[in-house]
C-alpha cells in the first residue's frame, strides 16, 4: 500500500537532547488515535544539520520542514497537516527578512547554498537500515570496482578527481593510495581516522551516525585498490552513539556478504575492526594513532618512514579521514570529471563544516570548495545573533587560526586559508563576536595543546608552556610590551622544531591573533584593560547607586557574600571579596550593576 506520507525525523545528537524521542512517541500516539498509523512511515535519520532548530522533521511528499517540535505539537501535525492537508504555520522556519514563514525544506537558505556529497544520505535515510543505503545506490560503487575496474584504474580515478584528505593536511588521496599500492609487503592495512579531536567539530561523528555504510564502502574500495585485507576504524570513546551505529552497520554489511571472505562472489576479501580511542588529542595524528591501535601509548614518531611504507605493525598502511572515505563511492559512481568540476583549481569537491559559536544557524553544512567565508557565515549561517558585531571566525581547530572581518571574502580552499595563517583543518568553524576576547581565545587553544602535548619532544612540551605563561601574565594585567616579541619568537621556534603536527600547529592561534588583533593584546598590556570584558583580573563590577532599587536580589545571589547593604539601603560590592563571577550582573533586573 502506498503511504499517505513519509516523515523524516532527525535523530542526531542535538535533536535527541532537545527532546526528539518524546516528540516521536507523542506523534506515534496521535497517529494511532487518528487511525492512520499504518498509512504513515516514520524514519529516524542522522543529523539534518539544522541543530539550532531541533527537534526537526520533514514531511514528504511536500517536503514541509517543521522545527522546535514539542510533544504537544504532534496533535496539530496529525490533525491539520496529515488529515486536512493544512500546513501548521507556527512550526515553520520564519525567514526574518521576508517576514513570511518558509514551508519547504529546499527553499531554506541554509540548504539552498549547500552541495552534499559526503553528507548525501545523512538526514535522508535510516542509518540502521542497510536497505535504505542500498536503495540510494549504496554499494553499487563497490560492485562497479570489483567487476569492472582494476585496482590501478580505481587509483587513477581518485587521482583524477583531485580529492584531497579531509582530515586536515589535504594530502592528495589518490597519490597516497598509489604509494600504498606500490609499497612492498604481503600484508597491508586500511585505517579510518575517526578520532575527530578538534573541540567544536562534529562532522565525522554526524557522518558515522547518519550514514555509516558510506564510510564502510569507501574503505572497501580503498582496500581493493591498495590490496589490503584488513581495516580498522579508530573512533573516540566520547562518541558512544556513533560506535553503536557503526558496530551495527558492520554486522549488517557482513550478513549481506559485503564484508568478509569473497565479497560479492569475487576473490576479494576484507574485514573491518573497530578500535576505540581513549581521550588523547594527539592520537588523531597518524603515527600516534597507529601506536594506539597497536595498544600502546599514543606517541607520534618522526616521519619518514611514512605509514604507507611502514605503518601498523610495520606494514604498509593507508590512513584516511572519515569524510575522505565517505566521498569515495560517489566519485566512483559519478566519475572524476564530475567531482573535479566542483571547487577551485587546487581544491576540488566539497567540504563539510560544523558551524558553532556566535552564529544563528549552528549546525552541519557541506559546501563547494571556493565558497567564501562570508557566504558561510551570513548566507548559510544567518549571521550573528543578538545584533552583535562579528569579530572573527576560527577555522582549523587548535592548529588553526582566527580570521577577522577584513578577510571574510577569502575563498575556502586549502591554499587561501593557509595564506591567512590558519589551516583548513577538519572542518570546525567557530564564530566569535565582540564579546569574545581574542587574547583569551588564544590562551584557550594554547592551554588545550599544552595539555594535550604528549611530552615526547621539548619544543612542544616546554615551548607551549612558556608561551602559555606569557599569555597568563598578559591576561592577569602584568604584561609588558616586550612579551609580544618574545611570544612571536617562541612561537616560531615551537612551529619549526616540534616533532609532529600538534606542536607545529600549536602556535597558530597565537600568531593569527597577534597578526589580526594586536590592538587587543596592547590594550591588555598598556591600558590593563580587556576590551571584550572577559579576562576577570582586568574587570570589576560595581553597583550604580542611582539605578539600584534596593531589591536585594544581587545580595541574595552572591555566592561568596561579597555584597553588603549600605546605610541608605543600596547595595555595594566589596571589591576585596568579589570573585568576579558575574552572577550579580546577570541577575539584577534593573541593570544597576556595571561591568568595566
Amino acid at each position: 500500500m502506498p503511504k499517505r506520507a513519509h516523515i523524516l525525523i532527525c535523530a542526531g545528537a542535538a535533536c535527541i537532547s532537545a527532546g526528539e524521542e518524546s516528540f516521536k512517541s507523542a506523534l506515534e500516539k496521535e497517529l494511532k488515535n487518528a487511525n492512520i498509523f499504518e498509512e504513515v512511515k516514520i524514519i529516524e535519520t542522522g543529523c539534518f544539520g539544522t541543530c539550532d532548530l531541533g527537534p526537526v522533521m520533514v514531511i514528504y511528499p511536500e517536503g514541509i520542514f517543521y522545527i522546535h517540535l514539542k510533544p504537544q505539537d504532534a496533535k496539530d501535525i496529525v490533525q491539520e497537516h496529515l488529515l486536512k492537508g493544512r500546513i501548521v504555520e507556527r512550526l515553520l522556519v520564519k525567514e526574518v527578512e521576508l517576514k513570511k514563514p518558509l514551508p519547504n525544506i529546499n527553499e531554506l537558505p541554509f540548504f539552498k547554498n549547500q552541495v552534499r556529497i559526503a553528507l548525501r544520505n545523512v538526514g535522508f535515510i535510516d542509518p540502521l537500515n542497510i536497505e535504505e543505503y542500498i536503495a540510494r545506490d549504496g554499494y553499487s560503487a563497490l560492485g562497479k570496482v570489483l567487476t569492472e575496474m582494476k585496482p590501478e584504474e580505481v587509483i587513477d580515478e581518485i587521482k583524477k578527481s583531485g580529492l584531497r584528505g579531509r582530515g586536515g593536511a589535504g594530502f592528495p588521496t589518490g597519490l597516497k593510495w598509489e604509494l600504498g599500492r606500490k609499497a612492498k609487503g604481503d600484508e597491508k592495512y586500511i585505517i579510518c581516522n575517526a578520532d575527530e579531536g578538534d573541540p567544536g567539530a562534529f562532522m565525522d561523528r554526524s557522518i558515522l551516525e547518519g550514514d555509516p555504510h558510506s564510510v564502510i564502502e569507501g574503505m572497501l574500495i580503498g582496500a581493493y585498490a591498495i590490496g589490503a585485507k584488513k581495516g580498522f576504524i579508530y573512533i573516540r570513546a566520547e562518541y558512544p552513539l556513533a560506535i553503536k551505529r557503526l558496530t551495527y552497520a558492520l554486522e549488517q554489511a557482513k550478513s549481506y556478504g559485503l564484508l568478509g571472505e569473497n565479497i560479492l562472489g569475487t576473490d576479494f576479501s576484507f574485514d573491518i575492526e573497530i578500535r576505540i580511542g581513549a581521550g588523547a588529542f594527539v592520537c588523531g595524528e597518524e603515527t600516534a594513532l597507529i601506536a594506539s591501535v597497536e595498544g600502546k601509548r599514543g606517541m607520534p614518531r618522526p616521519r619518514p618512514p611514512f605509514p604507507v611504507n611502514s605503518g601498523l605493525w610495520g606494514k604498509p598502511t593507508v590512513i584516511n579521514n572519515v569524510e575522505t572515505w565517505a566521498n569515495i563511492p560517489e566519485i566512483i559512481l559519478k566519475g572524476a570529471n564530475w567531482f573535479s568540476s566542483l571547487g577551485t583549481e587546487k581544491s576540488k569537491g566539497t567540504k563539510v563544516f560544523a558551524l558553532a559559536g556566535k552564529i544563528n544557524m549552528t549546525g552541519l553544512i557541506e559546501v563547494p570548495m571556493g565558497i567564501t567565508l562570508k557566504e558561510i557565515v551570513y548566507d548559510i549561517g544567518g549571521g550573528i545573533p543578538g545584533g552583535k558585531k562579528f569579530k572573527a571566525v576560527q577555522i582549523g581547530g587548535p592548529a588553526g587560526g582566527c580570521i577577522p572581518a577584513e578577510y571574510l571574502d577569502t575563498p575556502v580552499d586549502y591554499e587561501s586559508i593557509t595564506s591567512l595563517g590558519a589551516i583548513m583543518g577538519s572542518g570546525g568553524l567557530i564564530v566569535m563576536d565582540e564579546d569574545n576576547c581574542m587574547v583569551d581565545v588564544a590562551k584557550f587553544f594554547l592551554s588545550f595543546t599544552q595539555d594535550e602535548s604528549c611530552g615526547k619532544c621539548v619544543p612542544c612540551r616546554v615551548g607551549t608552556k612558556r608561551m602559555l605563561e606569557i599569555l597568563d601574565k598578559i591576561t592577569d594585567g602584568k604584561g609588558e610590551m616586550r612579551d609580544l616579541e618574545e611570544l612571536e619568537e617562541l612561537a616560531k621556534v615551537v612551529r619549526n622544531t616540534s616533532l609532529c603536527g600538534l606542536g607545529k600547529g600549536a602556535p597558530n592561534p597565537v600568531l593569527t591573533t597577534l597578526r589580526y588583533f594586536r590592538d587587543e593584546y596592547i590594550a591588555h598590556i598598556r591600558d590593563k584593560k580587556c576590551p571584550a570584558k572577559v579576562c576577570t583580573k582586568l574587570i570589576h563590577y560595581e553597583v550604580i547607586r542611582e539605578e539600584c532599587k534596593k531589591c536585594s536580589i544581587c545580595f541574595r545571589n552572591c555566592p561568596v557574600g561579597a555584597i553588603f547593604k549600605d546605610y541608605d539601603g543600596t547595595y555595594v560590592i566589596d571589591q576585596e571579596k568579589c570573585t568576579k563571577c558575574g552572577i550579580c550582573f546577570q541577575v539584577c533586573p534593573f541593570k544597576a550593576i556595571k561591568k568595566e
Binding site: 567544536g200 576505540i276 588523547a280 567557530i430
Partner: protein, 162 residues
C-alpha cells in the same frame, strides 16, 4: 567515603570473561581497559595487577597506558558524573562561567563531592556544540546553560534522583 575496596570473586570472573573475549586480538590492551572501566566505572589497582599477571605484560606498561589516556580513571567516580564541556564552541559561549559556578557549589575538577553524589570532569566537545554551553550528567546532555539555570538544574536533579 573511605571504605576500603577489594577485588571479589565476582570481579575476577568478570575480568576473566573480558580477557577471554580479547584473547588472540592483536594490540587489544586499550580495548580491555575500556571494557574493565565500563564494568567497574574506573580501573582499580588490583584489577590492573591481575591483568598484568594474566597477560604477562609489565604493570608499569599497563599503568603507562592507563595514565596516558585521559579517558581512563584510577579512582572511583561520584554517584552521578557531571561532564562539563570545555570545547571551543562552549568556551566562546561562556563555559568558563559555568565552571566558576560549579566550583562555587563545591565541585572540583576530577574530584568527587564530599557527599559522594557528584563528580566533575572537564571534557572536550560532547558534540552538542549547537547548544553550547553544554554539559552531561551521566548520559544526558543539557544545553544552553547559564550559571543561574545550571544551579537550578543541579538542585532539580538532586530532588529527582535522591
Amino acid at each position: 567515603m573511605a571504605v576500603k575496596l577489594k577485588i571479589s570473586e565476582y570481579a575476577k570472573n568478570e575480568i576473566e570473561k573480558i580477557l577471554e573475549k580479547f584473547s588472540g586480538v592483536q594490540g587489544s590492551l586499550i580495548m580491555i581497559l575500556h571494557a574493565v572501566q565500563e564494568k567497574f566505572g574506573f580501573l582499580p589497582k588490583e584489577v590492573l595487577e591481575l591483568i598484568s599477571e594474566e597477560l604477562k605484560v609489565p604493570l608499569s606498561e599497563i599503568y603507562g597506558i592507563a595514565t596516558f589516556y585521559s579517558y581512563f580513571r584510577l579512582e572511583p567516580q561520584g554517584k552521578h558524573v557531571i561532564r562539563l564541556c570545555m570545547g571551543t564552541a562552549c568556551y566562546v559561549k561562556g563555559a568558563a562561567d559555568l565552571l566558576t559556578a560549579l566550583e562555587q557549589m563545591g565541585l572540583k575538577e576530577g574530584k568527587v563531592s564530599e557527599d559522594g553524589y557528584f563528580s566533575l570532569d572537564l571534557v572536550r566537545c560532547i558534540g552538542a556544540c549547537s547548544m553550547a554551553p553544554a554539559l552531561m550528567i551521566d548520559e544526558e546532555v543539557y544545553g544552553k546553560l547559564t550559571p543561574n539555570n545550571l544551579k537550578k538544574l543541579l538542585e532539580d536533579f538532586r530532588k529527582e534522583n535522591p
